[in-house]
Symmetry: C2
């Protein structure tokens, strides 16, 4: 499930270009951390990235991995699954519903749609597993955040 070498080289180049454009330093550590994430098709956690990179840079620290991953996210070069460092939230709404999440302030609201309740899933899913429930997650800006900056909203961290 590894990405091809060409594609990785391509992404490494665009990463370097992005760094140059934004005045972000291209350090050995950053390059290797980015490479580690870019060359795997699964969704590693920080610990796994750390283990992988440590084989090449033994003095690597976990903190640097975290810092770099968040940086990469800010640069738009990677995304995250799940909300980092956020408390688990409990949902008593058992009706089939979907979620809107504000990428800025984290506001989460349910919404409903009969169309979205009965989506046609691709056949390729069959090779992965058996679907039980599908839910649509819409990311965007809530009206308040879209209207203007609210002081005290934490950046990065959805």
């Amino acid at each position: 499930m590894k990405s091809g070498r060409n594609e990785i080289d391509q992404r490494m180049r665009s990463f370097e270009e992005m760094c140059r454009k934004l005045g972000v330093k291209r350090t050995h550590q950053r390059m290797e951390i980015f490479r580690e994430v870019a060359q795997t098709a699964d969704h590693p956690d920080a610990e796994k990235v750390y283990r992988g990179v440590s084989e090449r840079i033994p003095t690597m620290s976990l903190d640097t991995v975290y810092r770099t991953l968040w940086l990469l996210k800010d640069l738009g070069l990677i995304t995250t699954l799940g909300s980092p460092r956020e408390r688990t939230r409990f949902d008593a709404n058992l009706d089939h519903h979907h979620h809107f999440v504000c990428v800025k302030c984290g506001l989460t609201r349910d919404f409903y749609s009969d169309d979205l309740d009965s989506l046609k899933l691709p056949d390729s899913l069959l090779s992965i597993g058996h679907a039980v429930k599908t839910q649509v997650e819409v990311k965007g800006l809530c009206r308040e955040c879209a209207a203007g900056e609210k002081p005290g909203d934490k950046k990065r961290r959805q």
Copy 2:
């Protein structure tokens, strides 16, 4: 955004019935914790539930709230947003893709579908915010988990 009183009473009754059916004790604490989650339309975290219930049961402990919430989840009476106690995972796949998540072992796989990339969202969303990106999350059983019990898989916790 509170649910109506009738509906809550209805849910309290089905909760009690469910407990009786499964031989789970109906304690004062459990009833109040369930009521707290059922009567709010937002998605409270454990701390918020704790604060709410504490007004009625001052000796309530946070641990009980956590244990009860996971119990409610196991009973299928509530669901969670985000994966509890799971590390943040990083995703280097920037192509528009969707996720299949095994509810049993947590396996997460990307899949693709042009249809799902361009979903028609309901107008009701406009009152909440401005959509930037939509992603479909399919929950189900991966082939391995569907095939049989794997020893050492942690239950509860997706």
